[in-house]
Symmetry: C2
Subunit: 413 residues, 2 copies
């Protein structure tokens, strides 16, 4: 029997996040860094551009020569600087991005010139600095270009490359091991005999963990056998930061996941006042360095396991990865239809919300649930872009009533 | 010289998308399918559950026996069905998910029973079907569970596994080869000599392509050498669906990318009336099967290459992957400060927009540009969550003026 008291949703949430510390930073190549969270403040060693650079294709000149003809003495392409000094009455050709030769202080763009027999005629006199990008125009030497905590997207990776950093300290992706349990389960590609069903939780939870930015390891399916299950759990704990099981956490005597988790880890709770997701074990394994490995024993019903992943596991994975934005944005939405719920536990109904645009309607969000909301029906998540979060105390809603909708298709904020 | 006429932004956009057809579907394992677009309608061969299944831990009984005592004749765990028929006055123990034995038509949950010496006493009489999930409750045999075009997220992958499909037809990730060009460029990890700078475009564009769902291949840096550049381009075209170069597409005589692209592909345009991103080559290579490989010659300035990637390349990569939602959501935002722009070409300023919440402010979005907006300054993209799209015809805005803001941190809609 499940002897754990049922705890409120918020308490479950807070308990998990209290153990979900950012993973220790590691050096990462910028080519592997997309989506990671930077764990150091990054300053530029040198300015960008590191030399006065032409912003145009044209001629490098001395502005003091005004609109006089110039003798073209060399060509400076973008690339290594040539050994030349532009003297009075002289010019070099120059291309965009090329270093301004010594002696020159301006660029006249090619459209404003004519050249014949090695002599360039400008259409007008340049001013000093014309079309020259001064040293440090984009980044000053010593400037902080990225703060610790920055999420590394394409622009951030470009900045790191630009200042010559091909490795940075970042929080690594959490390693997540996923295990399904139950004698009734077979792999999706295998035939079933009567009494068996396909394991949908493991592929779904692996995809959800990958989508949350984790590095995922499959532990396969463990039957209802203490030793096999314990071996899988031990393997997961030896290779991953987070272990996710599904199934076997309910009230029956054969609910072995709970029992095996109890043998390996400290259980913090075993029942949560939510629907779906009431049978839900959270445990930790304390490491010698003071950090905790997280163990989630999710319910076996497919919709329940994905809902509790989204509620509790995803924010924890993001916290491990060093993110500070952990929660999907909520909006207030109006119900397109009447709705009954338990009124006892907080209930998460899968729904499609659509914004009625001010020009087309009333500017409100309208919500419609995705068919039958039973714990087993993973189809209730297909096409859903929100969870309606229905708080205890109300068991019936009328069409048009307002509820909170968590936008599960939007980035965390 | 760049002899291509400057074409409007919308024409560039439409030209590219006219060539960006969804890639031919391939069979994909559900374990590799996250984020892909399904290319077939998927029906369930068999119902789910495939047998009448217990929804609770308890006893499988005949409802007609009412609240009479039952002799417990067997144990049916979740797993292979045992050979037993529940006769009048009999019961089996049963666990959640287990097949209902022959003869039984209801489940009494364990909390509503007492058992002693192999005899179970129910607290109340069950009704037929109590706590039994009938065949096909979640999915009927032959039911369409996913439509062609569905984006495969965790729930969709769970549904596929549940119906026993471990492979499906999906549009593959586009293969994207990325090349930087220019004698001035060195790898981020290498030292620079005077006149050289680090190549930031290739790492940034590789990250952007990866973020857009592509499979990315680096072609490295090609110097300003026709043959080396041509070899890189040929290699990219032999291995990828899309080739992205940056640099060398401007007006100078050494702008070899354009010249080499002209030698390998049909150029559709070479200049676009936008800022940044005016020098921008789009070309295609016609394959024998009628499909086109796409070649993007992006500008060399770092901010310009990332802006044009977001404007033009990302929607094309999504179209190749079979997505129909290609565009980031626009909102109307008010300027937090005055703004000057060209007024000639459509201008994309990198900005941070914040929603002033109705309870805290006026409910509007407010926009602030991210510092200097020069084409070279990739820092202008750091922290930006929107592009302000400033249409030609207006060259000055006052604080509070409304503009269109493209939300580059939000999923396409």
């Amino acid at each position: 029997m499940n002897l754990y008291p049922m705890i409120p949703f918020e308490q479950a949430h807070a308990t998990i996040l209290a153990y979900a510390w950012p993973l220790p930073p590691v050096p990462v190549s910028i080519y592997d860094a997309l989506g990671l969270v930077l764990a150091e403040e990054v300053r530029a060693d040198a300015p960008i551009p590191p030399f006065p650079a032409s912003a145009m294709d044209g001629y490098a000149v001395r502005a003091a020569d005004g609109d006089a003809l110039r003798r073209v003495v060399a060509a400076q392409w973008a690339g290594p600087a040539i050994e030349v000094t532009v003297g009075p009455g002289q010019a070099t050709t120059i291309t965009t991005g090329a270093p301004l030769p010594a002696g020159a202080d301006a660029v006249i763009k090619v459209e404003d010139t004519a050249e014949r027999d090695g002599v360039m005629t400008p259409r007008k006199a340049p001013r000093p600095g014309n079309h020259v990008r001064p040293v440090g125009e984009d980044v000053a030497a010593g400037e902080v270009v990225l703060a610790a905590g920055a999420v590394l997207g394409p622009a951030e990776i470009g900045v790191l490359a630009a200042i010559g950093r091909d490795r940075v300290l970042a929080h690594p992706r959490p390693r997540v091991a996923v295990l399904s349990t139950g004698d009734e389960l077979v792999d999706a590609g295998e035939p079933c005999i009567p009494g068996q069903i396909r394991d949908s939780n493991r592929p779904a939870l692996m995809a959800a963990a990958q989508q949350a930015g984790a590095h995922v390891l499959s532990l396969g399916i463990a039957g209802d056998d203490d030793e096999a299950l314990a071996a899988c759990v031990a393997r997961g704990l030896s290779q991953a930061d987070v272990l996710i099981t599904s199934g076997g956490v309910s009230m029956g005597e054969r609910d072995l996941s709970r029992v095996v988790i109890e043998g390996h880890a400290q259980v913090h709770f075993g029942q949560v006042a939510q629907k779906p997701g009431r049978p839900f074990v959270f445990a930790t394994v304390q490491r010698p360095d003071g950090r905790a490995q997280l163990v989630f024993g999710l319910p076996g019903f497919p919709a329940a396991s994905l809902v509790t992943f989204e509620n509790h596991v995803r924010p924890a994975l993001r916290a491990l990865a060093g993110h500070t934005r952990l929660f999907r944005p909520p909006v207030r939405a109006r119900l397109a239809h009447a709705l009954d719920c338990t009124g006892q536990r907080v209930e998460f109904m899968r729904a499609r919300i659509e914004h009625a645009h001010p020009e087309r309607g009333d500017g409100d969000w309208w919500a419609e649930v995705t068919g039958r909301q039973t714990s087993g029906r993973v189809l209730s998540l297909v096409g859903a872009n929100a969870f309606l979060q229905l708080e205890p105390g109300t068991s019936h809603y009328e069409p048009g009533d307002e509820v909170t909708a968590i936008r599960i298709d939007q980035p965390e904020e």
